[in-house]
């Protein structure tokens, strides 16, 4: 039971970050490698609010979300938009450059050492029926489920959401129907980065934070997005939670070393044998 909650809570972080990868891949067909560092920025923004400005959980998260969305929009506008229409390597290199840039800017301001959120920030442990549940993990889980519901609502019930799905489906047709593609792409980056910001605060309240913390969970979240079927929202959720659970159980049953490998082993197996991912996303299949 304890492991189940652990797995679900880390899975919810993966799922939130994976959603960002999937959203951006859906509209632009590119992998935003800097996404994992936006999550790291979120964690630091939350940390800054919580420990320097002494804000509570809700306000800190809100600030982190706003900050991350802004960064996401800026990155899209100034780094990715000039290269629109170019495939493959240049985009990848720019994304990796951005990722390094964000990491080392944070290192410049906060130093390279590991930091901890203040203890009263979602500290405390809830004991229900003999099982001790850290509040931070429960909050992460609830928050993730709530946000995913919100995202589904935006994508399916609002005008902007419909436009975003249209662009993801066929960007030329969407443009012909009068969808402002640039705005929609910015919106996708903003939403994805906001989710990454929440994931960052949630991750930070569970574990330690450092400027390079984004890479490993980021890569795993990316694996989750691919495993679930990149470009598909339910797939990202499924992949994130599945990966969190598998990883936690493997860590508990075998050894923790194997835990860091399992995500990538699953990733390669899925890419080789079922490229559409578990949810069988159309976008993923056509890539091959």
């Amino acid at each position: 039971m304890q492991q189940l909650i652990n797995g679900l809570s880390i899975g919810s972080v993966y799922a939130l970050v994976a959603l960002g990868y999937s959203l951006v891949f859906g509209v632009l067909r590119m992998i935003n490698f800097a996404h994992c560092d936006i999550m790291m920025l979120g964690a630091y923004a939350g940390y800054f609010c919580a420990s320097y400005l002494q804000l509570g959980f809700i306000l800190s998260t809100l600030w982190a979300v706003l900050f991350c969305s802004a960064v996401g929009i800026v990155i899209e506008r100034w780094a990715y938009r000039p290269l629109r229409g170019i495939r493959g390597m240049p985009i990848m290199v720019v994304a990796i450059g951005l990722s390094l840039l964000l990491e080392y800017i944070v290192m410049f301001f906060f130093g390279a050492d590991v930091r901890v959120y203040p203890p009263d920030f979602l500290g405390g442990i809830l004991v229900i029926g003999g099982i001790s549940l850290p509040v931070s993990r429960l909050v992460a889980l609830v928050l993730a489920l709530f946000l995913m519901g919100g995202l589904q609502f935006i994508l399916h019930k609002t005008r902007q959401g419909r436009a975003m799905r249209a662009v993801a489906d066929d960007s030329i047709a969407a443009r012909l129907c009068g969808v402002d593609e640039k705005k929609i792409i910015s919106l996708a980056f903003a939403i994805g980065s906001a989710l990454a910001g929440v994931a960052g605060v949630a991750y930070g309240s569970m574990y330690l934070i450092s400027p390079l913390m984004g890479t490993t969970p980021g890569l795993k979240a990316f694996a989750a997005a691919v495993v679930g079927g990149i470009g598909s929202i339910p797939g990202a959720l499924l992949g994130g939670f599945a990966l969190g659970l598998v990883e936690t159980f493997v860590g508990a049953v075998w050894n923790t070393a194997f835990k860091d490998m399992i995500a990538f082993i699953i990733l390669i197996v899925v890419i080789l044998f079922k490229p559409g991912g578990l949810a069988g996303s159309k976008v993923g299949k056509t890539r091959l």
Binding site: L83, V94, I96, G97, L98, T215, A223, L267, I268, L288
Partner: protein, 296 residues
């Protein structure tokens, strides 16, 4: 496209690589630090040449090339520790690097574009974690007491060998085939090229150079650890290829040498150095490819 023009080896560029390497060798006779830097520059050039065959010529984006470097370095370390001579270990390391590339190539070269990049990235992480947890190879602490056989002249000779082999490969039949695949995979399939063979051969030749660089690296420091073969290492190689001009061979080699030089000069300002490096990477890539798009 004018094939002749495209396949000119870039004579001046190649000579520049040779001369810079030679200057490095001459200048490095003074201090141990300088010879370390000169060797590092040339090792980076070998790696960049190897990755360029895979990324620049065959057009297959790999984010896990550090794997082949690790294969070379660890094979060399184990071989010298078990009493083999340096040349034997070097040959063994190169063979293992090529064999690994053969197996991985056949498994993965059916993937394309971003998927290949992701799979190689995952592979790189798997190998790193596996090395960290293999106690017979030193685990996370690393492998010590490798004989320090790497000297600047030796590195220079091997780098020349890499350069010549790469240029010859590029102008040979397999090189042409790989290049055709890199330009348009469907078209080359349609005219009857076995694209998988072509890609695997380019990957293998590239992996030989990269494994060689790994051998030199282990002989330079006398010590290797999984931290030497991370994602960052693969990215540095890729950055050299992109900044130097994919597919030109001498360009990536020059870029790799200049990057090592830059790292050495700004060594004291570690964080600022990385900020400058990443900014340069972003700005240069955007400018280069924006221009390229405008002209084509």
């Amino acid at each position: 496209m004018n094939i002749r023009r495209r396949f000119k080896p870039g004579r001046w560029g190649c000579w520049t690589v040779v001369v810079i390497g030679g200057l490095g060798v001459l200048l490095s006779r003074g201090s141990a630090y300088q010879s370390q830097i000169a060797s590092r520059m040339m090792i980076a050039a070998c790696m960049a040449a190897g990755l360029d065959l895979c990324v620049g010529i065959a057009g297959q984006l790999s984010l896990g090339h550090a794997v082949f470097m690790a294969a070379g370095a660890y094979t060399c370390a184990v071989a010298t520790a078990s009493g083999l001579g340096i040349w034997m270990s070097l040959i063994l390391a190169v063979l293992i690097g090529a064999g690994g590339a053969f197996i991985l190539g056949y498994a993965m070269m059916s993937l394309r574009g971003d998927y290949l990049a992701v799979a190689t990235l995952g592979l790189g992480e798997i190998v790193r974690v596996a090395l960290e947890n293999t106690s017979s190879l030193g685990g996370a602490a690393g492998f010590y007491n490798i004989p320090r056989f790497t000297t600047p002249p030796f590195t220079w000779l091997l780098m020349l060998l890499c350069l010549v082999c790469a240029v010859v490969f590029k102008q040979s039949r397999p090189g042409f085939l790989a290049s055709a695949v890199g330009q348009d995979e469907e078209a080359s399939m349609a005219i009857g090229i076995n694209t998988r063979h072509a890609k695997v051969i380019a990957l293998m030749v590239g992996a030989i150079f990269t494994a060689l660089a790994g051998v030199l690296y282990s002989g330079l420091n006398g010590f290797i650890s999984p931290r030497d073969f991370t994602f960052t290492r693969s990215i540095d190689m890729l950055a050299a290829v992109v900044l130097g001009g994919p597919g030109t061979i001498f360009g990536p080699m020059l870029a790799a040498m200049l990057m090592e030089c830059f790292f050495a000069v700004f060594q004291t300002l570690s964080v600022v150095r990385m900020i400058l490096y990443s900014l340069a990477l972003i700005v240069v890539t955007i400018i280069r490819y924006k221009k390229w798009r405008a002209t084509s």
